[in-house]
């Protein structure tokens, strides 16, 4: 695509770029001889013609070569000067101002010509230095001059030619996390090495205080201390000083201010003392920075590790699937497998994608996803999760989720989002610093005033600075990350996934827990226990079951699935159903054999004007008294009968409720079922607050009502109909066995379907927060205790060092109790 060098210049018939006649590519087409600048343009031209879109060339309004006119102008699409980058894009941008870099994921790339076009567009965009696009990955790495272009401008430009670009988050996070990690490691490592040297020297000095030391030796040791301490402050401590300046500018006394103040005053005081012959505190200055950096490094490492766990998880998903076409089997990459495709999985293979078993039976090991190590039986109609291990049977699976929809991908996404959510713990430390820093400053000024007023000038400044030095709690930086790390680690080991640090904070305040009945409190395995039909014929029951099951085939609701499963067990052949529609909280409707079938609660049928015979009502009442859920079935205008389903509480439900109650939490149950059923379950599990017959919108309303009465509410559920309530609660808890939407709207996901998980989650969040507050207390305590000594002018380095070491060790040991 170089400019023509020979005088014979033609223009490309696709992109209109001028091209030398000899370099041009010619193609004999039915519509005549066409000239192209490159093969990509030719193939695009062919494609457009073959698709019958020839009038594209007639209708397009390009008259000049290459890129459409509005894109070539010098002015960026955004009018006026460069608008600042939107905040949402900032995390994706690397590099300094003169040369910024970002990765974009571009939607709409079909062929190599697109890549060629995009690269040209990008490189002609003002300010863009280079653009590389991977054809296979659809990922672009763009570098641009920050003074001439913005990322949002580049994205807008790509959009104007029909490609949707978004910052590529996964790689971006990974990359920035890696760089941040390395930066922290370098700073921490440097601080640690010099602090070690400093410690050795300081021990000599401490010994000198007790045994006496030759002044010349002391002088030399102090010089070396200064030498070792300076890089710690100048290099490792720089982020703190920068953060402190930023904080002060914003009028906030954050933790960085505290750390900088402590380290800087210890350093200056020591230099002053060294010249004057007093005791020095270089080790204090260095250790403050080293220990806070250690806390930050641990936090960063934990995030990094979580993201790598995700990548390993995704790497375990097979890259190929055996797709079945009639008698043929073909290995196809998983990205090309579509929804509804049938795939075959042989014994011992890993299941590539989520699906429903259509034939065969096996046992699968889903420990990777659920943590449940016992193999689970999977027969026709059961769902299997991609990434789990197939046992000894060969199964045919109909794919229901591909790509980002798979359970594995969603878990990965969940974990990734959890990492990016800001930890509330930093805020907690900042909140405390906001009171502590002014307090310490006040004390310091008071000390100065007191000494100056009643004694003489020299030691007054010394005493004031000593207060600042000793007050800085260096364990503060580790108090929260270490505890959260230990807490989340313990939670993950129990199969509980908190979607973010802030969830941990909200969870520990919870004093009411609302449990959804179906699937959460009960086994989640509802079974049909009674089929009763109005018609007297002997096969009427089986007809009723067949019709109800046929209508419910598309259902994600537990009751519907139970009916379908039961029908299959009974050997019923299901009929095709159309126009399936789930009516949350009421039931479902579908067309079977051209007749409208309703399966659901009594009001659903009554609203449709279907008359329910008295005999049927009496039967229904009897079943409900036994604690069964009753589903009414009708065909067009006739009530056919009822199906009674039994839904026993989970074996651990009563124990879990007892634990929650003992923790001082009000336990309530909400269900769409009728009162009798709900009451029986409530009695069996020991829940006293039962709300029955609540519609899905009503569930959210009930949760809000509780919240308005000043309670902090957690809602646990797993169905589509629970999603609004999960979102409405302070903390939404979803069971991993539940529907996707529930997991999506929840803050906490419990990977095993046991109710004790809810109790464990509450327990852990409370313990973590108790440990954090204890940590914060101990972090401040020793230093606070030493302040009076400093104010009295008795501070010596031993006390400063001891206060620091003891508070740090206390914090770490205290956090480890969580494991």
């Amino acid at each position: 695509m170089t400019m023509a060098t020979s005088p014979a210049v033609v223009s490309c018939d696709h992109c209109l770029l001028p091209v030398g006649d000899r370099e041009a590519i010619h193609d004999e087409r039915p519509e005549g001889r066409k000239t192209f600048c490159c093969h990509a343009c030719r193939s695009i031209y062919r494609m457009i013609q073959d698709e019958g879109l020839a009038d594209f060339y007639a209708r397009r309004d390009w008259t000049t070569a290459g890129i459409p006119v509005p894109l070539r102008g010098e002015a960026p699409p955004v009018a006026g000067a460069l608008s600042p980058e939107p905040e949402s894009l900032l995390p994706f941008i690397r590099g300094d101002h003169a040369e910024k870099e970002a990765s974009l994921l571009i939607d709409g790339i079909r062929c190599a010509s697109c890549v060629c076009l995009l690269e040209k567009v990008l490189e002609r965009t003002r300010g863009v230095i280079s653009a590389r696009i991977g054809f296979a990955t659809h990922r672009a790495t763009v570098r641009w001059n920050g003074e001439k272009a913005t990322l949002s401008g580049i994205i807008a430009r790509l959009r104007s030619i029909g490609y949707l670009a978004r910052p590529f988050s996964a790689a971006e996070q990974e990359e920035s996390l890696r760089l941040q990690n390395r930066d922290l490691l370098l700073r921490f490592g440097t601080a640690a090495f010099f602090s070690m040297q400093l410690m050795i020297l300081s021990f000599g000095l401490y010994a000198g205080y007790f045994q006496g030391i030759d002044p010349a030796t002391r002088r030399w040791v102090e010089y070396f201390s200064l030498l070792a301490c300076t890089p710690v402050l100048a290099y490792s401590g720089r982020p703190f000083f920068r953060g402190a300046i930023r904080g002060i500018r914003n009028g906030m006394l954050n933790m960085d201010v505290l750390v900088s103040l402590g380290a800087a005053s210890a350093y200056t005081l020591s230099v002053y003392q060294m010249l004057g012959g007093g005791p020095v505190y270089f080790d204090t200055a260095a250790m403050i920075i080293t220990l806070v950096l250690l806390g930050r490094y641990l936090e960063s490492l934990a995030k990094h590790r979580a993201s790598q766990a995700v990548h390993r998880l995704l790497a375990l998903q097979p890259r190929e699937a055996r797709v079945v076409h009639g008698q043929d089997r073909a290995m196809v990459t998983t990205s090309e497998v579509g929804k509804g495709d049938l795939i075959e999985i042989r014994p011992g293979e890993t299941i590539p994608l989520d699906g429903i078993v259509r034939s065969g039976a096996t046992e699968v090991d889903e420990s990777l996803v659920t943590g449940e190590s016992r193999p689970a039986e999977r027969t026709v109609g059961a769902a299997v999760i991609g990434g789990s291990m197939n046992g000894l049977g060969t199964i045919m699976v109909e794919v229901i989720h591909v790509g980002q929809e798979t359970v594995l991908a969603r878990i990965a996404d969940l974990v990734e989002r959890a990492q990016t959510a800001a930890m509330p713990v930093q805020r907690l430390a900042d909140r405390i610093s906001a009171y502590f820093v002014p307090f310490v400053l006040l004390l310091s000024v008071a000390t100065f005033w007191y000494w100056h007023r009643f004694f003489y000038a020299g030691p007054s400044l010394l005493a004031a600075v000593s207060v600042l030095v000793i007050a800085c709690p260096c364990a503060l930086g580790m108090a929260t990350p270490v505890a959260v790390l230990a807490g989340m680690d313990a939670a993950a080991r129990k199969g509980i996934l908190f979607k973010g640090g802030d969830v941990l904070e909200r969870m520990h305040k919870v004093n009411s827990i609302v449990l959804d009945k179906t699937g959460t409190l009960t086994a989640g395995k509802v079974r049909v226990s009674k089929v009763w039909s109005v018609a007297p014929e002997p096969d009427a029951d089986s007809v009723l079951l067949r019709i109800a099951a046929s209508a419910e085939q598309g259902s994600e609701h537990l009751l519907g699935e139970a009916i379908v499963a039961h029908a299959r067990e009974q050997g019923e052949v299901l009929l095709d159903a159309d126009a399936f529609k789930a009516l949350p909280g009421q039931g479902a409707s579908a067309l079977v054999d051209g007749q409208r079938i309703l399966v659901g609660r009594r009001p659903l049928l009554e609203r449709e004007g279907i008359i329910i015979p008295a005999e049927m009502l009496a039967q229904a009442e009897r079943l409900e008294r036994d604690g069964r859920t009753v589903v009414y079935v009708s065909r067009s205008k006739d009530a056919l009968g009822i199906i009674g389903l039994m839904d026993a509480p989970k074996p651990d439900a009563a124990a879990a409720v007892r634990r929650l109650k003992r923790a001082g939490v009000t336990v309530a149950m909400i269900t769409g079922d009728n009162q009798e059923t709900a009451q029986i379950i409530g009695e069996r599990t020991g829940i006293d607050l039962v709300r029955s017959g609540v519609l899905p919108e009503g569930k959210a309303e009930e949760v809000l009502k509780l919240r308005r009465s000043g309670r902090v509410v957690a809602m646990a559920g797993d169905g589509i109909n629970d999603a609004p309530a999960l979102a409405a609660a302070d903390v939404g808890i979803a069971m991993a066995s539940g529907t996707d939407i529930a997991m999506e709207s929840a803050d906490v996901v419990i990977m095993r379907s046991e109710l004790t998980g809810v109790a464990d989650a509450l327990d852990l969040s409370r313990r973590t927060f108790r440990v954090i507050s204890q940590n914060l207390f101990w972090a401040f305590f020793y230093n606070l205790a030493a302040i009076p000594l400093a104010m009295a002018g008795f501070l010596n380095p031993i006390i400063a060092a001891a206060a620091m070491a003891v508070s740090s060790i206390t914090v770490v040991l205290n956090s480890l109790r969580l494991r």
Partner: protein, 52 residues
């Protein structure tokens, strides 16, 4: 006596400095970037490890 101590301190200082330089080299060449992955690598299938 004094000079012996100073000599020892300087020796210690340079030993520490050497260790620190080794650490700097290791951190900068990415030796610590991923301390989780290598131990799992032997479990992988035949695919070559990712280059980056």
């Amino acid at each position: 006596m004094l000079w012996t101590i100073i000599a020892l301190i300087v020796l210690m200082f340079f030993l520490g400095l050497a260790a620190w330089l080794v650490f700097l080299w290791a951190a900068k060449t990415g030796q610590f970037d991923d301390i989780e992955r290598p131990k799992h690598r032997m479990m992988d299938d035949d695919d070559p490890p990712p280059k980056s």
